[in-house]
């Protein structure tokens, strides 16, 4: 499971092509990440959870 910010999607897709998985699915989120505080990080994780579960096939 790979999670990346939106500006890195082209690079992530290029790496997926290098490894022969051009349709590899990523969870993406807005930039930036590194400068967020603790509460913002927690909120970000909650926002991403449904997408993570969907890609893992665990949604119900």
């Amino acid at each position: 499971m790979s999670v990346c910010t939106e500006p890195f999607v082209p690079a992530a897709q290029a790496m997926a092509r290098v490894y022969g998985f051009p349709a590899y699915q990523f969870v993406t989120m807005p930039h930036p990440l590194a400068s967020l505080d603790d509460a913002q990080i927690q909120a970000r994780a909650r926002d991403l959870l449904p997408a993570v579960l969907r890609i893992l096939g665990a949604e119900s």
Partner: protein
């Protein structure tokens, strides 16, 4: 074959269209092969300029470029490069396992020719690849980093004069074919063989002008000290290439002084700047102009004295680091961050006898010293480098010079 050669490796199809898949075939530009261009030094060549342009535009359409026009390469021109080395064309000069791609002697030669190198430059290009492989950072993906680094090549020894590498005035600037094209050969290979296209596998936030080309020679003749390669165990008659990952080139203006401590403090003050601190410590290559090198030497300072002084003075106060939120390090990455960050832990300096003074260098060996530029003013440069923070730089001997 009169058509241009594909510039990438077996994996290049993944990063760009292969020759066979091009929407139109390679132009058969007779002017790219044979006599007309060979006579170029003797007078205006009699060539089909439209054919030359068609070949250059074909390369541009394939994306086999840094943005500037490249030189079309034919099998016969490639053979001139390969004749300059005893290495087999299929020998790998650098592999990037995480990209499943590798550069061979043949691919390095094609891209050197495209960059505008003359065949006589090729042994230097091959030594550059050996030094880059030995450096360790490129094969771990630093060329793709958001930081936006570039490889700097430093050439020492007799090959400098043989192929016309500039070590004097405007050494970081333009105007010298060997400097411009040897550095560019590395960049074109990064793009064409390893697929490091900007906005794709090259994720640099801003990059650096050095990404077009960064190749300098040491001004050994106007240095009071042993040259860089001799300092690290090579013979003065050896020619050698040092490869260093760099981010920035910061100039030092100090035309007013004859006091070595004043000059060394100016350099240390530049090296310690907080904006350069992503990791706990940094490293630097100090490129002294001949006037500054002589100033130190006249006072009895050797390179090691310069290194020791800079090491002892390139430090920030804890207060200054706290003001920019870099007074601690991450327990996960050891990147600098504020002491109140949830991931923060004390830096190494916190356990020293003077915890309020935080060195930016972990040892004197984190500073390399060399001499380049014109002997016409008190100007030098600090190159901010990515390691090694201690230990010798990666240097490779230039082989097959008489091949």
């Amino acid at each position: 074959m009169a058509g241009p050669l594909p510039a990438g490796g077996p994996a290049a199809g993944a990063a760009g269209p292969a020759l066979a898949n091009a929407t139109e075939g390679p132009p058969l530009a007779n002017a790219t092969e044979g006599a007309p261009l060979a006579n170029a030094t003797e007078g205006p060549p009699l060539a089909d300029a439209a054919g030359i342009r068609a070949a250059m535009e074909y390369y541009a359409r394939q994306g086999w470029t840094d943005g500037l026009p490249v030189v079309p390469v034919t099998e016969s021109y490639l053979a001139e490069f390969l004749a300059r080395t005893s290495l087999h064309p299929d020998q790998v000069v650098l592999a990037m396992p995480h990209l499943n791609r590798e550069c061979t002697v043949r691919l390095a030669a094609i891209n050197a020719a495209m960059a505008g190198c003359l065949p006589d430059y090729f042994p230097v290009v091959l030594a550059a690849w050996e030094a880059l492989a030995g450096d360790g950072y490129p094969i771990r993906g630093i060329w793709q980093s958001t930081t936006g680094t570039a490889p700097l090549l430093v050439v020492n020894g007799p090959v400098r004069t043989r192929i016309g590498l500039n070590c004097a005035g405007n050494v970081f600037g333009s105007g010298f074919r060997a400097n411009a094209t040897i550095g560019r050969a590395i960049r074109l290979t990064a793009i064409n063989v390893f697929g490091l296209h900007p906005h794709l596998l090259d994720q640099a936030t801003q990059g650096t002008p050095a990404k077009y080309s960064a190749c300098i020679a040491e001004n050994e003749e106007q240095s009071p000290w042993p040259p860089l390669h001799v300092e690290h165990g090579f013979d003065p008659d050896d020619s050698a290439v040092t490869a260093i990952v760099i981010r920035s080139c910061v100039h030092i203006e100090a035309r007013h002084t004859q006091v070595p401590e004043q000059l060394a403090l100016d350099i240390a003050g530049t090296i310690r700047r907080t904006g350069a601190l992503v990791h706990e410590t940094i490293s630097a290559l100090v490129v002294l102009g001949p006037e500054h090198a002589r100033l130190f030497a006249s006072a009895g300072w050797g390179k090691e004295d310069v290194r020791q002084f800079i090491y002892s003075r390139a430090a920030n106060t804890r207060t200054d680091l706290a003001a920019v939120g870099k007074d601690a390090v991450s327990r996960h990455t050891r990147w600098r961050l504020p002491a109140d960050h949830p991931d923060a832990m004390p830096d190494l300096a916190s356990a020293s006898c003077d915890p309020d003074l935080v060195p930016v260098l972990n040892s004197p060996a984190a500073v390399q010293v060399m001499v380049a530029g014109a002997d016409n003013s008190g100007v030098s440069a600090v190159i901010e480098t990515f390691g090694p923070r201690g230990g010798p730089p990666s240097i490779a001997r230039v082989g097959d010079i008489d091949g």
